[in-house]
């Protein structure tokens, strides 16, 4: 996938979440956004996902301008988005969380939607939990349902906003494993993460975002192992300070 952002700016009141951000990625399969919290990763993902419109600057993903009001809905329908806090619909079962968008947004027949949902939930090891409500599932299970919902309609790009930040290490590992599998199967992914080991193993392109700007970006191995910028070095030494980096992907 191809991403071009030029002077992208997004303000929340007086806070500049994105401050004339520039990012040009010619061809990435999995793009990982890393960097300190509050640096603008989530905002960039929301702009990429068409959930938020930038105040100024230009932005295209694979030649499409997602934030534009007239195209945003169609763009959101083409892609999948997963949130840190799961955000499943709490009044619907795991199964219905997946089938409802398939039916109402993507025009599948109810029978088709059920078949697809069964496949996705099965694939993520949720076969025995499909008729439970989100409140009856563990965090890891909820996030796997979220992942199933996000990929059910075969998204062009899967956007993941810190998909494991609300999970304990064991659940983190199980969700990262699934994301790794999706990437290996050819799914285009843009994600923000604090799991450096995972970013190194799965992403082919990494961008460090701080204070609303891209500090450094490039091939994952290059940025993570031989950072060129002082800011990147400091960030990486901080997150790696306590021993092992995050759990490795398969």
């Amino acid at each position: 996938m191809e991403i071009h952002a030029a002077s992208l700016t997004k303000n929340y009141g007086t806070l500049a979440a994105l401050d004339a951000l520039d990012l040009h990625v010619g061809d990435a399969h999995v793009l990982a956004l890393i960097g300190p919290s509050g640096g603008g990763k989530s905002t960039l993902l929301r702009v990429i996902g068409g959930l938020e419109e930038a105040d100024s600057g230009t932005f295209t993903v694979n030649g499409v301008q997602p934030g534009n009001k007239s195209t945003a809905l169609a763009w959101r329908r083409r892609n999948g988005f997963l949130f840190q806090q799961f955000n499943l619909f709490p009044h619907l079962t795991a199964h219905r969380n997946v089938t409802l968008p398939l039916e109402k947004v993507h025009g599948h027949s109810p029978a088709d939607a059920v078949r697809i949902a069964d496949e996705c939930l099965d694939r993520f090891g949720l076969a025995g939990h499909t008729h439970k409500l989100p409140a009856q599932l563990s965090g890891g299970q909820q996030q796997r349902v979220g992942l199933a919902r996000a990929i059910a309609a075969k998204p062009e790009i899967l956007i993941l906003d810190e998909p494991t930040s609300a999970l304990d290490p064991e659940m983190t590992a199980e969700v990262l494993e699934l994301i790794g599998e999706l990437a290996a199967a050819g799914q285009h992914i843009i994600l923000s993460t604090h799991e450096m080991g995972f970013a190194r193993a799965v992403a082919d392109h990494v961008a460090l975002i701080a204070a609303g700007k891209v500090t450094e970006h490039g091939p994952a191995a290059h940025v993570l192992d031989h950072p060129g910028e002082e800011l990147t070095r400091r960030f990486l030494s901080k997150v790696m300070k306590f021993g092992l980096p995050g759990p490795a992907a398969p």
């Binding site: 959930l51 959101r76 949130f83 968008p101």
Partner: protein
């Protein structure tokens, strides 16, 4: 064999239940046994047509004002969420005036000022809505709608931003977000308050007797005048309203359990 803790709790529960019922029954028996005027249920039987007609009219007024108030509440919510600030302020002011005013004065002002206008009356007549009953239902609807709209607004505002994000992310458009994500959750949250408001609506309909609508309260008073004060009419009155309000409360409880999604 010693009773298990579960059994003991059950026994205690049953004993407490019997005790409570006996105390209440004794109290009622004692109060009614010492009434100056006795209860004459034969008189109630003689006036059964009057009382039944009144009760049916109360049922009709309630059945009309319930959807009516929902309709007006929907308009008020739409107004309060309008992009035009003038419309938002107007709605806000309207709701606060309705809620700050006694229903009695709304009924009197509404009926003797607004519904008394010749041109308005002629307009309603031309649409076949000139009856006193329609005026009563309309006034009760508007009054209740002010409360309903505030209850619903609270419910809508209580849905976390994450749900909206999530609904947009899966590709729902605005009507779909409202229908599939926001409303089901918001309605479940405000169900107890909504049911309370509908019960209040039924009881509030009793005030319509002041403009001469011959509903249940009106007819009970007529019964009292005709029989020189039969206390039994008040008991009938209480029972008659409970016959309408208890099923509403019961239905709301059933709905709450049926649509429970938080453990």
């Amino acid at each position: 064999m010693p009773a298990r803790p579960g059994h003991r709790r059950l026994l205690l529960d049953a004993a407490a239940g019997v005790l409570l019922v006996s105390v209440v029954c004794t109290l009622f028996w004692w109060v009614f046994a010492h009434l100056d005027k006795g209860l004459e249920w034969g008189r109630v039987w003689n006036y059964r047509k009057l009382l039944t007609d009144g009760w049916l009219l109360t049922l009709a007024v309630s059945a009309g004002a319930l959807p009516g108030s929902c309709l007006v509440a929907a308009l008020l919510i739409a107004g309060s969420r309008s992009r035009l600030s003038s419309l938002r302020w107007f709605t806000r002011g309207f709701v606060e005036i309705m809620r700050g005013m006694p229903l009695l004065s709304l009924i009197l002002i509404g009926y003797f000022v607004f519904f008394a206008q010749d041109s308005f009356r002629a307009f309603l007549n031309s649409m076949g809505l000139g009856s006193k009953l329609f005026a009563g239902i309309a006034l009760l609807s508007v009054f209740t709608a002010a409360y309903l709209s505030e209850i619903l607004r609270g419910g809508l505002d209580s849905i976390p931003q994450g749900q909206l994000d999530s609904a947009r992310a899966v590709g729902f458009d605005r009507p779909q977000i409202l229908r599939y994500v926001i409303l089901p959750q918001a309605l479940r949250r405000v169900l107890p308050a909504l049911a309370g408001q509908f019960v209040t609506l039924v009881k509030d309909s009793s005030l319509l007797n002041i403009i001469g609508i011959q509903e249940f309260t009106y007819q009970s008073r007529a019964y009292n005048s005709a029989t020189y004060g039969g206390i039994e009419a008040f008991l009938m009155l209480a029972l008659g309203y409970l016959l309408i309000t208890l099923p509403i409360a019961g239905f709301a409880h059933w709905m709450e359990n049926r649509f429970r999604y938080q453990m």
